[in-house]
């Protein structure tokens, strides 16, 4: 019988919920760290099917692909389906942009519930009110001592992207915060 390697996520099997908020490890996804200046954006648009957002803190979505503005020349692309984005970027071979696959460097925690903002604000210093951080907003920021990318997917739903090796800390931090929120 042949042995097959199985990939396991760092937070597999975990679950946590209070009356105000639930924590769920996000399903595996393809992620790309995209760096491009003006002259590389056309290629990025061709491959993604839409232009990377140009406004700070904004995101764009088409089908299963989310593109999050991180910096003036940096985006985080998250593809929930495996539609072969890294291969498409490699095939294009445009040297005006850099697309690095980071699918397994990052992992994500889905945070949902009426207390989601309170839980995040126990470690994240940003203003997360709907006025300044509306649905669709995203930002690289910090949570406690860890760097995260925060993406608001709904009025009471957030996706917390963090480094794989930090995920245990981020999970525990959010869990503790949820207990006292």
């Amino acid at each position: 019988m042949s042995k097959v390697a199985q990939r396991t996520g760092p937070l597999d099997g975990r679950n946590f919920g209070t009356t105000g908020v639930t924590l769920t490890p996000a399903a595996a996804a393809t992620r790309i760290s995209l760096r491009a200046r003006e002259d590389g954006l056309a290629t990025a648009k061709k491959i993604l099917g839409f232009a990377p957002p140009g406004k700070p803190k904004s995101s764009a979505t088409k089908g299963s692909i989310n593109c999050l503005w991180i910096g003036p020349d940096e985006w985080l692309v998250i593809d929930a389906d495996d539609s072969g984005l890294p291969a498409k970027f490699a095939k294009e071979g445009n040297t005006k942009l850099s697309a690095v696959e980071i699918s397994h460097r990052n992992t994500a925690i889905l945070l949902e519930g009426a207390k989601a903002v309170d839980v995040l604000n126990s470690g994240c210093p940003q203003d997360l009110s709907s006025a300044s951080f509306p649905v669709g907003a995203c930002s690289r920021t910090i949570l406690g001592k860890s760097e995260i990318v925060l993406y608001r997917t709904g009025e009471h739903a957030f996706r917390v992207e963090c480094w794989r090796s930090f995920s245990d800390y981020v999970w525990s931090f959010l869990m503790d915060a949820a207990k006292s929120a």
Binding site: I70, G71, P72, E74, P125, S132, R140, T141, I142
Partner: protein
Amino acid sequence: MLLIHCPYCEEERPELEFRGAGEAHIARPANMAEISDADFEKFFFIRDNEKGVVYERWRHIHGCGRFFNAARHSVSDKFIMTYKAGEKKPKITKTQIDAVKPPAKGTPANEPVWTVGGKGEAK
């Protein structure tokens, strides 16, 4: 917590997302191998460390990742303005400095709010 305006994110963000990166507007010599040790020391180590308005580099490290410059008052720690890297050193007017100056000694704002058994004891 200080709120710092990031010129790339175009909004104020909490200071925890930032890291200071020393004095701004220090031009690296183009002929690095030829300059004398004294000139290298001046470029590399000697800083003005002025009391008053200082120009500093900051990095929005846990945000957009960008370096930018800021004009700040080194006594009150208040920011006068921030501007993108590569932009010219802005002229700071007296009104702008007065707005961020620490309160003068002897004025009520400079008095300790609470001291034990002293003149300013809380009532």
